[in-house]
Each structure stands twice: as structure tokens, then as C-alpha cells.
Amino acid sequence: MKNPITAEEAVALIPDGASIMIGGFLGCGTPLRLIEALIAAGRKKLTIITNDTGRPNEGVGRLIHEDRVSHVIASHIGTNSETQQKMLDGTMRVDLVPQGTLAEQIRAAGYGLGGVLTKTGLGTLVAEAGEVVTLGGEQWLYEPPLKADFALIYADVADQVGNLTYRFTAHNFNPAMALAGATVIAEAREIVPVGSIAPDAVKTPGIVVHHLIAKA
């Protein structure tokens, strides 16, 4: 059983400069209460690993707007002009990664695999920055596993041992990130008693979730 903690207590565990995975896709499946708590707690110089950076001053974009991020690893920042501007200014480092590669790099870290071998990015700028290897008689782009100090997850339903379900397109990066953070903190729409979620419906086992945020 998890002990309920507040979003404030959870982010107190996160130091300045930490690397943080944040679930969500343009705000869908993004742990918004944890993001606001990070801002309220004054955290800064964060490295964030996330699909996109939301929209200006919305979702993950709140952290960009409030200048809390020094480094972004993402696949798409086209919906956030502030992220693009800081990247072009050179005031924030942004590494862009193909979305499928990013998802597999995160999974590789959580699943104890040595990285990703993909055709995606071969013959492009992405391969110039990466490592092209020949394995099994074919060329592949190798990308290493991607870990983080923390993973902030948004779930639909959580039970009291931390088992998680996700809803529709709010799955996205959350299930993979839930195994790839050294400390995993989950925020859920709803918390139910143990045994309320059928074993076949659980998508993340509670045993990998370190902290579950109490209801708002």
C-alpha cells in the first residue's frame, strides 16, 4: 500500500538540476498538478524528457514559460513558440528525437535493454548526430537508453498499491516512462481500493510506482 502524499511533498524530493520524464502528448495525459507543484516549489535548471512541450504556458509549456528548464529532449516543439524561441536564442538546449525512437529509448532504459536499433533517421541530420552500426547484415541507427532521475506520470485510475490504468490517447509515453525513472511519481484522475481494477486492465504495476499523489 502506498502512503498518500501531496504534490508538494512529492516535488520536495526533486532537486534543482534533476532530469525528469513527463508523460503526455500536447497536454493529454500530462500530470498537471505535479507540474504546478514544481513551479510553486521554485525548481529550476531541469532537464525534461517529454514528447512535446505542450503549448505556450500550457501543460509542460508552463515549465518553459516560467524558465525552469535548461535542457529539453523531445520529438516535437512546433506547438510551442516559446520553446522554439529559446532554442533559436540558445538560452535553452533542445535535442529533437524522432517520436518512435524517443519512445523506445525510454522503454529500453526501463526494460534493461542496451538501446534502440532503428531505420528511422538514416540518411538524415539525425543519423549525422548519432551512431550508425551494421548488425545482422544491415545498417541501423543506434540510440542509447534514456533514463531519468524522476518520472512524472498521469494515470486515469490508480489503486492504493499504485497499479495504473490509462484512458484513450492519454497512454502515450506514460507506460514506458513509469519504468524508466529512478523515482516514479504518479498522479491519477481517480484512486480506487485494491482489487477494484481487474488484473487484465492494469497497464503499469504498482510495484514500480514509488509515490502516488493524494487526490486534489
Binding site: 502528448f25 500536447l26 497536454g27 493529454c28 495525459g29 514528447n51 512535446d52 503549448r55 523531445a74 520529438s75 516535437h76 516543439i77 512546433g78 506547438t79 522554439q84 532554442m87 533559436l88 533542445v94 529533437l96 524522432p98 517520436q99 518512435g100 525512437t101 524517443l102 519512445a103 523506445e104 522503454r107 532503428t118 531505420k119 528511422t120 533517421g121 538514416l122 540518411g123 538524415t124 541530420l125 539525425v126 486515469d156 490509462y166 484512458r167 484513450f168 490517447t169 492519454a170 497512454h171 502515450n172 509515453f173 506514460n174 507506460p175 514506458a176 497497464k203
Partner: protein, 217 residues
């Protein structure tokens, strides 16, 4: 209407009972020209097989969005997928056809559609996976960009993949990239081969008859 021609003609390329990914923007409109009984499922790479039309106002669900972040719906028989399975379907060749817009396509059939260095840095999102790995890649776009050529001898913008795309469909023409170069396959009703060549910086090969596009539903 030029957009209508592109969408209608592209819809005819989709194969029954397959998985199709439509890019943000113009390609999204292709769905409106596909009959429900086709057995085609649309993938939304943010997490759905079986994307339906946009949600009607009042029935939005914040956990059900499309790849552009808009409120979406799901068809009966839809499946929620995480990003790993979503891109597994793309990289693994389970997406039969992807339809994307383009900034440039060249004589090698290479597509550039993700960055204008120093000016526009949106990131590649899912485009590189889709173009490198989908079974068939259809570039559906306006033939030119406010007078500037988009079908060019060699892309000057960074490529999305080193893969040759399957087909280029514009409001003027259907062009097939091949090992030999760009073959002009079809012309839009009332458009001449000469007009297409004028709007195209790349060399277009005419190999036999250039049929008029069939735009029947």
C-alpha cells in the same frame, strides 16, 4: 477546388482493410472521402487505431485527442495504444499507407517536410518514422508554394528520410518517383502536361499515356 482534387485522388489510393496514417493539416481531410465499409482504420500516432471525426462541441473527452491535440472521436472497434505500440505499428510496416504534406520532394523521391533550418524548428515528431517505415508514403500537397517550386531536382531542405516516397499527389498531377526519376502518371481535369512542367522544377518523365485523374468516390 484544388484541395478537393488532392483529397479525392488520394482517397482512391487507400487499400481496403488496412491501417492508414494521415498527417496533420491537409492530409487529415482524406478521411472524409473514405467510405466506412472500406474496412480502413485510421491511426492517430499519439495513441489510437480507429480515429473518428473531430468531437462535436459538448461531447469532447480530454483523454481523446488527435495528433494535433484536437478533441477527437473513436470508431467502433477502435483500440487505445501507447506510443511504443503506435510506433511499432509504423516501424514494423503495419501501417499500409501514410499520407503527409511536404515542403519539398525531389527527383530521387526524397521528401523534406520537418525543418527549415534557422527559421522553423518544429521537430520531426512522428514524420521520420512514418516516412522511413510505412509500407507506402503518399505526399499530398499543393503543387507549388505561392509560386515557389516544391517538386525540385534535389531537396535543399534537410530530408525526412532517405527512402523514396511512393507517390506525389497534387491539385495538378499524380507523380510516381522511380529509380529512373519522377514519372508523370496523371493530370488533373483540364490541366495540360505543359502546365504541370511549368509548375515543376524537377524533370518529369512522360512514359506512355498521361491519363486524366479519376476522381470518383
Amino acid at each position: 477546388m484544388s484541395k478537393d482534387i488532392i483529397l479525392r485522388r488520394t482517397a482512391r489510393e487507400l487499400r481496403p482493410n488496412t491501417l492508414v496514417n494521415l498527417g496533420i493539416g491537409l492530409p487529415t481531410g482524406v478521411a472524409n472521402y473514405v467510405r466506412p465499409e472500406s474496412g480502413i482504420f485510421f491511426q492517430s500516432e499519439n495513441g489510437l487505431v480507429g480515429l473518428g471525426p473531430r468531437a462535436v462541441a459538448g461531447f469532447e473527452n480530454r483523454a481523446l485527442t488527435d495528433a494535433g491535440g484536437g478533441f477527437a472521436t473513436a470508431v467502433p472497434g477502435a483500440m487505445s495504444i501507447d506510443s511504443n505500440l503506435s510506433f511499432g505499428l509504423i516501424r514494423g510496416g503495419h501501417v499500409d499507407t501514410t499520407v503527409l504534406g511536404g515542403l519539398q520532394v525531389d527527383e530521387a523521391g526524397h521528401l523534406a517536410n520537418w525543418i527549415v533550418p534557422g527559421k522553423m524548428v518544429p521537430g520531426m515528431g512522428g514524420a521520420m518514422d512514418l516516412v522511413a517505415c510505412a509500407n507506402r508514403v503518399i505526399v499530398a500537397m499543393q503543387h507549388t508554394a505561392r509560386g515557389a517550386f516544391k517538386i525540385v531536382p534535389k531537396c535543399t531542405l534537410p530530408l525526412t528520410a532517405d527512402r523514396r516516397v511512393t507517390l506525389i499527389i497534387t491539385e495538378m498531377a499524380v507523380i510516381e518517383p522511380t529509380e529512373a526519376g519522377l514519372i508523370l502518371r496523371e493530370r488533373a481535369p483540364g490541366v495540360s502536361i505543359e502546365q504541370i512542367r511549368e509548375a515543376t522544377e524537377a524533370v518529369l518523365i512522360v512514359d506512355g499515356e498521361v491519363a486524366e485523374m479519376n476522381l470518383a468516390a
